[in-house]
């Protein structure tokens, strides 16, 4: 079981590294808020802790964890979307040959 989990971890970290190296500096702030929103997935662990009837302490801790994780999910995805909405191209980009068009990366 542990070995399998380690496989998953290492491969996911590798995929993450490959994908994220290609994110341009232009979008580094949205990247941070996006990973922040995604890390709200700890909600799935929190919900089990809050709802599995393992005693009052576990329920209360789980309840607070659900609040924290939900805050990150809702806030994180909303703010990422809000930021990405702001990034737009020039609608009337002068097609002058001297201006090097920004490379697509």
């Amino acid at each position: 079981m542990l070995i399998l989990q380690l496989y998953v971890f290492v491969l996911a970290a590798f995929v993450g590294y490959m994908v994220i190296t290609r994110v341009p500096p232009l979008l580094h702030t949205p990247l941070m808020s996006a990973t922040n929103a995604i890390s709200g997935i700890s909600l799935v662990g929190s919900m089990v802790a809050a709802g599995a009837h393992r005693g009052t302490v576990a329920t209360i801790l789980g309840f607070i964890a659900v609040i924290c994780a939900t805050t990150n999910i809702v806030g994180g995805f909303l703010i990422t979307d809000r930021m990405l909405k702001m990034f737009r191209r020039d609608p009337h980009e002068p097609k002058s040959p001297t201006a090097p068009s920004k490379k697509e990366s």
Binding site: H28, A37, I38, I41, I67
Partner: protein, 463 residues
């Protein structure tokens, strides 16, 4: 059957998360991709709700509602200038969730819960709460510094690194103790408390301009804590998301350190610019400074063919991004060409300047990274520096004795002329004299960036 549905939802969510992050490589596709990632999140949540372990939904429902009520304003109402502290506080929330789940798991095993704690699982649990607790308080201090509730200057005292090291070693000893003897509760909780103290002590000595590295590093810790949670409770989507988050934070902090030509260790333990180091070359002679009026600067800009704008933290503080865009549009209307040069560590978090300018409706194809634009400065008529200092200091390139020597900079001094908008002649964060401000081609326009830009706009209109 239900378990399979849950697993399927996790698998789908993982794939959508990776696609979402991948979409961030293209600004025109990013929004769509992240919306798909949000759908993935919803799937994972629904998949968990049908989990057979969950028997009571009222606390979950209450938590979801309260979390959404807190999250909405944090997503929609926080101004873009406050983004760094907004990210820092959410790192703290994320880490807190990890810690609480870890403690709940630990507590329930020893209080009538099923199962026992094998050492591998206990190691994951211990690692999770240690890293999580450190991140909770560290991110809170970072947030306080960015919001300027705490002094953003580095706070240092003698033997600081030694104290931190001892505390860290103690935390590791406690971690080993709980792995060997999981049933001992005292070391477990002591470790959490110690990590919380350590988080505060580690971030306090770090100065405001180093915050991009710290925030990125805390992001990485937060991800690793989430991944450790996944190991502890045997949940693969937590492992995957945590790994993605950890990789992203790690990569960003490496990039940021590189952009400052400093190592991790140096950022974390160096307390750069803590004492007011005497400025290099401050031999008592006042170096010449050419001050310029807004009228003269406006005429220079109005007749320039190629202009590069270099925004820095000063622009963010003055919230002058809208005036910058207005000025750029006026210059363009008169036939000039305007580009923006963005240094990787301009501002207080990675990519902060880009968001501010995008908010002010600057098209993103006008924003250039340092490497893309540095070659263009010699052909530039006017380089307009707005509230940036160390990232345009030629000493980093030329003066081997300078403390910031080797840090990649924007070659503003190679432009035909330079106008610097600055509040006064104070040195930058690093406390180093900037030769750019004394160069013959440079003129200084003193005053608040927003006020100066407003004046420039009206003068360029009149010119």
């Amino acid at each position: 059957m239900r378990e399979h549905l849950t697993e399927a939802s996790y698998l789908a969510a993982s794939v959508l998360f990776i696609f979402g992050l991948r979409s961030l490589t293209r600004p025109d596709r990013a929004r769509r991709g992240m919306q798909q990632a949000a759908v993935g999140m919803l799937l994972a949540i629904c998949g968990t709700l049908i989990n057979y372990q969950i028997v009571d939904y009222k606390w979950i429902a209450a938590g979801l509602v309260i979390g959404a009520l807190i999250g909405y304003p944090l997503g929609m109402w926080v101004p873009t200038t406050a983004l760094p502290q907004r990210i820092a506080i959410s790192l703290s929330f994320g880490a807190l969730a990890s810690v609480l789940v870890g403690v709940a798991e630990y507590y329930s095993v020893f209080h009538g819960g099923e199962g026992e704690l094998a050492s591998a699982r206990m190691a994951a649990l211990g690692f999770e709460v240690l890293l999580g607790s450190l991140t909770v308080t560290g991110a809170l201090v970072a947030c306080g510094k960015l919001q300027e509730w705490l002094p953003s200057k580095p706070m240092t005292y003698r033997g600081q690194n030694f104290v931190n090291f001892v505390l860290f070693a103690l935390a590791v000893v406690l971690l080993i103790t709980v792995i060997v003897r999981p049933e001992m509760a005292a070391p477990f909780y002591a470790m959490i408390a110690l990590a919380a103290v350590l988080g505060v002590l580690m971030v306090l000595p770090i100065g405001g301009a180093d915050m991009p590295v710290v925030v990125a590093l805390l992001n990485s810790y937060c991800g690793l804590a989430a991944a450790a949670t996944g190991f502890a409770i045997g949940n693969s989507i937590l492992i995957i998301s945590g790994a993605l988050d950890g990789a992203s934070g790690f990569l960003l902090s490496v990039l940021m350190s590189k952009a400052m030509n400093r190592s991790f260790a140096n950022v974390l333990f160096g307390a750069f610019g803590g004492e007011t180091t005497p400025a290099v070359g401050a031999g008592g002679d006042a170096l010449p400074v050419r001050s310029v009026s807004a009228e003269d600067a406006a005429i220079q800009l109005a007749y320039a063919q190629r202009v590069i704008i270099v925004p820095g933290y000063g622009m963010a503080v003055a919230q002058a991004q809208h005036q910058v865009r207005e000025l750029a549009e006026l210059i363009e209307k008169r036939g000039g060409e305007v580009k923006y040069a963005i240094h990787p560590v301009a501002g207080r978090m990675p990519g902060h300047m880009n968001v501010l300018l995008a908010e002010a409706n600057v098209p993103y194809d006008r924003l250039y990274d340092m490497d893309e634009i540095n070659g263009e400065f010699p052909q530039t008529d006017v380089a307009l520096v707005i509230g940036a200092n160390d990232v345009v200091n030629p000493a980093a390139r030329d003066d081997t004795s300078s403390p910031i020597y080797g840090m990649p900079i924007l070659d503003v001094d190679r432009a035909k002329s330079v106008i610097v908008l600055k509040r006064g002649m104070a040195t930058g964060f690093a406390g180093i004299e900037n030769a750019l401000f004394h160069a013959p081609a440079t003129s200084m326009l003193f005053g608040d960036a927003k006020a100066s830009l407003t004046k420039l706009v009206s003068e360029v209109k009149a010119a």
